[in-house]
């Protein structure tokens, strides 16, 4: 089985978000970037298929050279090779078009992604990619088994889970639950050394114009101070009469 894991390179979860150029651009100054947390679950599951079922694992990202540390980290975790499509990740559908172009000429059996990127939170790439490729698609995946070409997956739904069956090739968008938190991989020294020798191929992107553009950003308004109440009676009173939420 050939697996492709799509990696999004995003600001670390603790990052303070700021903008420059009169709020027209994200300010990456001083921001630490990491593998998108949802993608880590998918990558860890891919490693399980590699170790238990002999799958090969390629990681791919769409972005400029600054995204390469996340690919190197994925190689250190155990991916076999990496691809960077040298194009700006402008919007989800455009990223999907870039990925689809590479996938069409490489025939992967399983495409793993995260449920959403924690930067622009589009939750767009996996669904768009599956549609472009006409592959089966499962979102919000919290459990995945594969036998031959048949896929059994559990998907998170409101208030529970759903068990789904489908066939490869498929696009599966993962999240926490796909593997346990404790089974996420941290690169060790040997992995880091080996990663240096593994292939990281840079491919040119295709011409693709996006239909959406972020023209400006805004931060939430400063919140007024928290009202400290000293009794539960007072709390019930303010929630009922002032906030009107109960």
């Amino acid at each position: 089985m050939k697996i492709l894991v799509c990696i999004s390179h995003v600001p670390d979860t603790t990052s303070k978000i700021n903008f420059t150029a009169e709020n027209a651009e994200f300010d990456s100054n001083g921001v630490q970037f990491v593998i998108n947390p949802y993608d880590e679950f998918s990558l860890a599951r891919a490693m399980w298929f590699k170790e238990k079922q002999g799958a090969s694992v390629t990681v791919i990202t769409v972005g400029d050279a600054s995204t390469e540390p996340s690919l190197r980290k994925s190689l250190a975790i155990g991916a076999d090779d990496a691809i960077r499509i040298d194009a700006q990740a402008t919007d989800g559908i455009t990223v999907a078009k870039q990925l689809a172009e590479v996938i069409k000429s490489n025939a992967y059996d399983l495409i793993l992604t995260g449920r959403e990127s924690i930067d622009y939170n589009g939750a767009t790439v996996p669904g768009a990619l599956a549609t472009l490729l006409d592959y089966n698609f499962i979102n919000a995946c919290v459990g995945l088994e594969i036998e031959g070409t048949s896929v059994t997956a559990s998907k998170e739904i409101d208030g529970g889970t759903e068990t789904l069956g489908t066939e490869l090739p498929a696009v599966i968008a993962g999240q926490k639950g796909l593997v346990e938190e404790k089974d996420l991989r941290i690169p060790n020294m040997r992995g880091i050394m080996m990663a240096r020798k593994k292939p990281l191929q840079v491919l040119p992107g295709i011409e693709a114009t996006s239909s959406t553009k972020d023209v400006s950003f805004e931060k939430p308004a400063e919140k007024s101070a928290c009202k400290i109440v000293t009794s539960v009676d007072e709390l019930i009173d303010v929630l009922h009469n002032e906030a009107k939420v109960i």
Partner: protein, 319 residues
């Protein structure tokens, strides 16, 4: 030209966000001086949508669609958009909506923006405001394609009544090959889900252990709310994964979010900030959650919460 809204239902009943999506669609139809068309799939009371301004309701009724299949539903929405010559297609950004919308946009070769929270500030260029950076910021995003797909965030625009006399039509789209088959659904029967809840009661590591979760459950029950937890609580196995809320867990956009024994780490707040009113109950007055909350009680959860449950029972019996 028209604006098309997919009005989502489950087991025949509209979800609350369906009414919000139709209200939102009405606003855009007015901005564009055009008709609002609502699409329903196996909904029992389709005519309810006229209360929120739909001019025409197109109804799909088909037994094979009793379980939600993303590929089939996205194909139906795309066919409706083509038939109705829709310029704007609105799909809620709930879990099912997020599942189908990128496919709809791809089929229609449309631009797509999810988690939108306001009516367009401008229709030319078409500009919407959406949540980004896990609620730490908003983007103003222009959509330049002829057809635009908008994902509407829950509890953002609100439900607005606008009575219209709607016409109703049956719609018989081609049913796509599903590709993915549902074999079982496991739901916690009788419990309110975090996605649907107006009130969410959430517990953190301050509750000390799973044996104390009756406090959270009893409080949620008197309030008719859902229960949730911080990430370490689900990592420790005190609560199931699907209750973990925050930046890397479930997003919460309820009217009321009560955080008990939760410190208020940036990753937790990022996922719950979209809630309208946040209440914190924490023994430590320095806990960061106090900076993010509207109301707070400094106190021991094991004293405050039982009192709160008792007083709310009294409150409920009077109101």
């Amino acid at each position: 030209m028209s604006v098309l809204v997919f009005a989502e239902s489950s087991e025949g009943k509209f979800k609350k966000i369906a009414f919000e999506a139709v209200s939102y669609g009405k606003k855009i139809a007015q901005q564009l001086s055009t008709q609002l068309i609502a699409l329903t799939i196996n909904a029992e009371n389709a005519s309810e949508l006229s209360t929120y301004g739909a001019n025409k309701i197109i109804k799909v009724n088909n037994e094979t669609l009793s379980t939600f299949n993303a590929k089939v539903v996205s194909s139906i929405i795309a066919q409706a958009a083509t038939q109705e010559n829709a310029e704007v297609v609105i799909i809620d950004s709930s879990s099912n909506g997020l599942y189908v919308a990128p496919a709809v946009a791809t089929i229609l070769d449309a631009g797509y923006v999810s988690n939108v929270i306001e009516a367009p500030s401008n229709t030319s260029p078409f500009t919407v405001k959406r949540k980004t950076f896990s609620n730490k910021a908003f983007s103003h995003t222009e959509i330049s394609s002829a057809v635009k797909v908008i994902g509407l965030a829950k509890n953002s625009f609100g439900v607005v009544a606008s009575d219209e006399a709607a016409t109703e039509e049956d719609f018989s789209p081609e049913i796509a090959n599903s590709g993915v088959n549902s074999t079982a659904i496991n739901k916690n029967a009788g419990k309110v889900s975090i996605a649907d809840a107006d009130i969410v009661v959430s517990g953190g590591r301050g509750l000390k252990g799973p044996e104390n979760w009756n406090l959270i459950e009893d409080l949620a029950e008197v309030l008719g709310g859902a229960t949730a937890c911080s990430k370490p609580v689900s990592d420790l196995g005190w609560r199931p994964h699907n209750e973990h809320v925050g930046q890397t867990g479930k997003p919460v956009a309820s009217n009321l979010y009560i955080a008990i024994g939760i410190s208020g780490a940036i990753q937790h707040l990022a996922g719950v900030n979209a809630s309208k009113v946040k209440v914190v109950i924490n023994i430590d007055p320095e806990a960061p959650f106090f900076k993010a909350a509207e109301y707070g009680i400094v106190g021991d959860a094991f004293e405050v919460v039982p009192q709160l449950i008792e007083k709310l029972k009294e409150f409920n019996s009077k109101n």
